[in-house]
Structure formats: structure tokens, C-alpha cells
Subunit: 88 residues, 2 copies
DNA sequence: GTGTGACTACAAGTCCGTA
DNA sequence: ATACGGACTTGTAGTCACA
């Protein structure tokens, strides 16, 4: 499981900090694309067919979305998935 | 463009077929990058700290990895996450 | 218009094996 | 060296009421 990942992957940084960075990076990308599209969290959530609170948690880096979720986001935001993982 | 065509066709396809396309797309990208790095599934799995059977299922499009998993893959494969979501 | 904790269902990911 | 499966634990998806 992920405990193994931690043991192996800790080179110079703390594993939990890296994980947070990744999630927050995606969250900020989502927020940037959402605002660029002129959408509120509520309207984005409605177009995706998910709850607004999920979008909220996502943008704040509290969620670790799957590639399927990223793809749904990209569709609604009219961007590529790669734009949502920018900086990673 | 391919992505645009896909986005249009989406309205006429079953949702599960789209999901399969996304998962398989990631799987093929992973396989391509892994072979380019000269790694076996076993060595990739070991370096990531995940089970080898997971890598197998991933490359065959049977898995829906999270962004954290994609990031771990990218690190070990020495590529960017965007390279793993190429074509999406 | 957004942040948050608690919640259930189901998928992510493990560990064992087979071929 | 890889595909594939079963049974298992952990975590994500997705929701809700309330701040």
C-alpha cells in the first residue's frame, strides 16, 4: 500500500507534504480554469452532475481525484486533462 | 482534432465506453513510458512501492488511477504527469 | 458564493495464487 | 516477464446540513 510508497519515495521531502502539493496543485489548476470559464463552483458542479461541496474540496486540495474525474472536469471546463495537471 | 471529435461523439456513446477509453489511454501511455525507460512491470512496481499486479491492470485499462498515483508513476518514469494523460 | 465534517457505497490498491 | 483472478483493506466518489 501507500505505506510502502512513503518508505521508498522519501528522498529529501516529507511524503505527506508532497502529496498535499500534488492535490493542491490540481485544485489550483481547476480553480484557475473554472474562473477563466466564468463559472461558480455551483455552476461547475451542476454541469458535471456532482455536488458543489465536492468541487469546493477539490479546489482546496482536500481531494485526490481519479483520472476519470479529471477527464469529466476537463470536458465541462473545455480544457485538456493536461491543463489540470499543469506543473506536475 | 481528435479530442474534439471525441467530445462530440460522446453524446452518442455509452458512458462506460468513454470511461474505458480514458482508462485505456492512460494505460497505454504508462506502458509506452515504462518501455521507453527500459523497465519491467515488476521493476516499475518496486520503484513505485506498489504491487506488480496493479501495474498490470493499470496498463490494460482496468484501473482508474488517482492523480497521486499518476504523480508517483511520473516520478519513477522520469516524465511529467501531462505525458501520462496525453491524448486526453 | 463558499468551507467543512460526517456519512454510505463502491472503487483503488494489496496480497495471495494460477497459468 | 506478463495476464488474470479472488479475497481483502483502505480511500475516493459523491451527498447533506450547517456554518
Amino acid at each position: 500500500m501507500c505505506t510502502l510508497v512513503r518508505r521508498i519515495k522519501v528522498h529529501h521531502m516529507r511524503a505527506s507534504a508532497m502529496a498535499d502539493d500534488v492535490r493542491l496543485g490540481v485544485g489550483l489548476n481547476v480553480r484557475r480554469c473554472r474562473l477563466a470559464a466564468g463559472l461558480t463552483q455551483a455552476s461547475l458542479a451542476e454541469r458535471m452532475g456532482v455536488d458543489r461541496s465536492y468541487v469546493s474540496g477539490l479546489e482546496r486540495g482536500h481531494r485526490n481525484p481519479t483520472v476519470l474525474t479529471l477527464w469529466h472536469l476537463a470536458e465541462v471546463l473545455n480544457v485538456r486533462v493536461r491543463d489540470l495537471v499543469d506543473g506536475l
